[in-house]
Subunit: 350 residues, 2 copies
DNA sequence: AATCGTCATGTAAACGTTTACATTTTAGCT
DNA sequence: AGCTAAAATGTAAACGTTTACATGACGATT
């Protein structure tokens, strides 16, 4: 058990050198005699001394931490982002600080305030965040990468996944299977990602000349429970849809539970597909068809981008990376009568 | 966009007061005239000044952060721990710093070193951690709560879930359904939680006088993929077990995928049960029977404990909390012929 | 012996904030 | 107006580290 009160002054005294020499030893300067180094290291070990991050941070102006601000921490989607970020940060001399804003503007601000001064770079994934808040709260010199924030500001590097295209393609795929009555479970009024996906859903209807049915649009909040509830309502419709498309896999999983409880079979009685393609999707019964988002890679990409800025590998104008989505076709969607297999393959290869 | 270089000195100069007055305004001292306060706050807002956490930490010796060190970050189990911790820390004037040790001793040490000086309290969930490392690395004054670490040291508060009892009861429940050929997917050689659960599994066999079959013990690593692989091997056994018990739900989900791919039905052809009762378990088809661990509450409890120490609400001897597990009986386990329903109810109500 | 250059080490200031104690200002009373 | 006490504000030191520049020691050369 070490005592927080031992400082570099105590170590220097005990080793019989100056505090500068102790600092040099700690920071691996070559301006120290090997014999002196040995002595100092022995004292450091004996006293179990560790430098104060606050003092170091104050003088060096770096914290050796990278912040990751997420809208929520629930489930595999976010744990995959974190894992990608974490894997990328490994062995880079930095640590990851994860925080959640609970999708609340006040809490976004509080989290940003906390991060400021505590991180050397920041990844923000928050559909609700506005560039003004970021500009007001964060120092100009802090590398910031926005992930699915839909902010177009020349100051920030952004990475955005193609929610519109993914949803459009999934609905097109369902059309190719013969489905025209397709219910959708959305992700919330203020959620820009949900809005993009809804736009894709509607776009596919327009493109294929299939009439839209507003009664097939249901509210959810990206949780399993909200997907369960929405599916229960969907199953009670007079004219039941032949497929349910949820805007994330967690809601698809909840919908699967409701369908199971209603004694219906997937995909025989009703097809289900989701968005994100979280790792669990492939193990479900049946395996879930989902818009594939390279989640782990998103986290990795964002952190890489921060490092590029931090290590001056990238300067100048902000980069805007658009990450395409693909379809992971599995077994949760049934082909209805009347469509050919060729159409299915055409969509996948797009 | 704020400039990192504006300091309390700049604010004081612009407001025409001393730095102590600015500090008093920032820290809501009542020793400031309202008129003076207004002036200073206006300047602070205009300059978008925020205090340096490093400087504050250096003088106040607190960071306003609580650390949570997990063995891994994958999936709903850990995201539920984080969520419980996060919910408990809300509005307490602290933020959560999450880190992962990847179950590697070197990385445990690195993470502890990073946390030291950056957190005011710490929750450690790491089966592999040893008390000597904690004692060597962390200051005596830092509140530390160990979660499922199986360390018995008078210095640390501990919270331990009943892995032994949960596994024993699950196996007993399977016996009550008539299963005697029960395969188990373990969680890794060095994992103490897996060892406790294995001990419970074996204990139930001994208690019920059912012969143990070492060929039914399979290695996994708590991931879906390892559960998938283990189940594939299990399904190829000459004398196939009638039930698979995995030491966490992620492996159960993987096993479900392998069973599905083999064209078998759960529970008609083979029963499956897991451990932890992560949120997704109840939505699976069929819903998964699992040893219920109050995951979210664990995270909450651990943080509460840290706060108790931090706010001096608890002093003296370390507390050791033992958290019982219960069974969440759902639909993934079939009753074989020959056992009564009364035995089933008796086990649940224990 | 004196001088010069290199290496190793030490001294002092800086970083940005908080706060104990000193000083000034203000309000109320005589 | 003068005095007193309380309120408000200011000064200076502290916190623990890093590092620019100063200093001292040593070896080589003339």
């Amino acid at each position: 058990m070490t005592d927080i009160r031992s400082s570099i002054i105590d170590v220097a005294k005990k080793a019989g050198v100056s505090i500068a020499t102790v600092s040099r030893v700690l920071n691996e300067s070559d301006k120290v005699k090997p014999e002196t180094r040995e002595i100092v290291l022995a004292v450091i070990n004996e006293m179990k001394y560790a430098p104060s991050p606050a003092a170091r941070g104050l003088i060096m102006r770096k914290t050796e931490a990278i912040g990751l601000l997420l809208p929520d921490l629930h489930g595999e989607f976010f744990s995959e982002i974190i894992r990608g970020a974490d894997a990328t940060i490994q062995h880079q001399g930095y640590h990851l600080i994860v925080s959640s804003s609970h999708n609340d503007p006040k809490e976004i601000e509080a989290a940003l305030r906390f991060m400021r001064g505590r991180v050397d770079g920041l990844v923000v994934m928050s559909p609700q965040v506005e560039s003004e808040l970021l500009l007001d709260t964060l120092p100009k010199s802090l590398p910031v990468v926005l992930l699915n924030c839909h902010i177009n500001n020349p100051h920030f590097d952004t990475i955005v996944t193609d929610g519109f295209g993914g949803a459009r393609d999934m609905v097109s795929y369902l059309f190719s299977l013969g489905h025209t009555r397709i219910a959708v479970v959305k992700g919330g009024e203020n959620n820009i990602e949900s809005q993009e996906r809804l736009r894709g859903y509607r776009s596919a209807f327009a493109t294929h000349g299939v009439p839209l049915n507003k009664a097939y649009e249901f509210d959810g909040d990206f949780t399993e429970a909200s997907g369960f509830e929405a599916a229960r309502e969907i199953l009670e419709l007079e004219e039941r849809p032949s497929a349910i498309f949820t805007f994330n896999d967690s809601m698809a999983i909840g919908a699967i539970g409701a369908i199971r409880d209603a004694g219906l079979r997937i995909p025989n009685d009703i097809s289900v597909c989701g968005f994100d393609d979280i790792p669990v999707a492939k193990y479900l019964s049946p395996s879930l068809t989902s818009v594939h988002v390279p989640i782990h890679e998103l986290g990795a990409m964002a952190i890489s981008r921060v490092f590029d800025r931090l290590h001056k590998r990238t300067k100048g104008d902000a980069a805007h990376i658009f990450v395409p989505t693909t379809l992971s076709i599995r077994n949760s969607c049934k082909k209805l009568n009347g469509k050919s297999t060729q159409e299915k393959e055409m969509i996948i290869l797009r």
